[in-house]
Symmetry: C2
Subunit: 261 residues, 2 copies
């Protein structure tokens, strides 16, 4: 164990260490010159997009959480509307399969599904960085950073299924395990509680809302990314707050009751 | 900090705590009865599949890593062949967009892209758990566990781009940051080194190889899942080796040199 890493994410973001995708392309992408698209008609970017209403999208995402959970709901909230307003290629995209993003990929607690879903949306609509623009990757990365920093859930649905107060917490991490764990500790609620479920549905709605704000700005030609690719500065793929885990503030894990709840 | 969690993953898997998807469906999926597919023609499962050669798939994945990195390469290694052998719906799936899974999602070090890609493949081919079968989710989860336990890279390409010896390490985690970090420490190589890149290309090939082994068994009606959904037993979304992080064995993070490499 070590607590000798003293660089916080905020120091990183605000300081001289800012690394945008140019540096990361050099880091990861030294084969870009060989890149060529290989697929069918959907491998052309950007995909057609019309501006969506953030609040309507958030309401759809909130309701869809109760069908597809975090990742599938974010994808569905955007692509479902675009299926109606545009049609293809959204009709051919298998939204429901992405239910597997729930719980940080089938309950493993890795990346929060709403973050994974947001990155799928940005990279599918705007396109991969080997195609026409870095904006898809950078907007996805900006969504991760926004999620880490936000007091969540940001969005309150018009007709919440749970009317009890839902506390707000800041995850400082894009991971389901850390985000949900910090909220459970602050709220004193279990994973299976209606409050935890509604919190995650509201987080999903919050991500969908902000995602559409960014996509609308991009559609208007006004998107200026705040997205960073954090890996280069630490010589390893990682977010930028090393001491969150490489420090002395890791809590005891909550153990489920013996009843197997 | 705490080191009072003494349940290892192996104890969990081999012991009475085994939780299969039935328990998890109760955990996460209390709304299954309301589930219905909403999409276009690709929202029907399973997708057509013909058995693939694991070694050929691994070779494709290895080479595709140098174009699409870990996540995109796993998807491309399977779907690229199925585009040729079957056609739709694989031709309509935008493989290249999933380059964003690189480095644990744009360099953030979350889930290793090869794991995310494998889960995309299993859940798209077999289908989501709200459709016809739990096998897509369980096979994806089995891939995560296999990745954690394997001495990686398992697969050696026929014509490796890097001929130096590539050490093998066990990640005990599905996360890019942990998997890559443990390997870098064991190998004494930096993230930007040719050896690290080729290690990740070989890990990607290893995942593709095993993924096709499982898909072929499923196609033959012989797939018996070892997949578990780990969240229920701990009352939080998580993998099953809590003390890997909630313990005293977290190393100092490597700091990139001041040159901005």
């Amino acid at each position: 164990m070590s607590d000798n890493s003293t660089v916080s994410r905020r120091q990183f973001i605000s300081g001289a260490g800012l690394v945008a995708i140019g540096a990361t392309a050099a880091h990861f992408g030294s084969f870009l010159s060989n890149a060529e698209a290989k697929g069918g008609s959907t491998e052309k970017w950007p995909w057609p997009y019309v501006k969506l209403d953030p609040a309507i999208t958030a309401e759809i995402a909130y309701e869809e959480w109760y069908r597809l959970f975090c990742g599938g709901a974010v994808v569905s909230s955007v692509f479902g509307q675009l299926r109606e307003k545009i049609g293809e290629p959204y009709k051919s995209f298998p939204i429901d399969a992405f239910i597997f993003l729930e719980g940080g990929v089938s309950g493993w607690g890795t990346i929060c599904g709403s973050n994974a879903g947001a990155n799928i949306v940005t990279n599918l609509i705007i396109g991969p960085r080997i195609a026409n623009s870095d904006d898809g990757a950078l907007m996805g990365s900006e969504m991760l950073q926004w999620y880490c920093d936000a007091s969540m859930p940001v969005y309150t649905p018009k007709k919440p299924r749970v009317t009890a107060e839902i506390p707000k917490t800041t995850s400082d991490s894009p991971l389901c395990h850390v985000s949900v764990g910090k909220w459970m500790k602050a709220a004193g609620k279990e994973l299976k509680s209606p409050e935890r479920k509604d919190r995650c549905a509201r987080v999903t709605a919050s991500v969908a809302y902000h995602l559409v704000e960014l996509l609308n700005a991009w559609k208007d030609g006004k998107y200026e990314t705040k997205g960073i690719i954090p890996s280069a500065n630490y010589g390893i793929t990682a977010q930028n707050n090393c001491t969150e885990c490489h420090g002395s503030n890791i809590p005891s894990p909550p153990i489920a009751k013996a009843t197997g709840k």
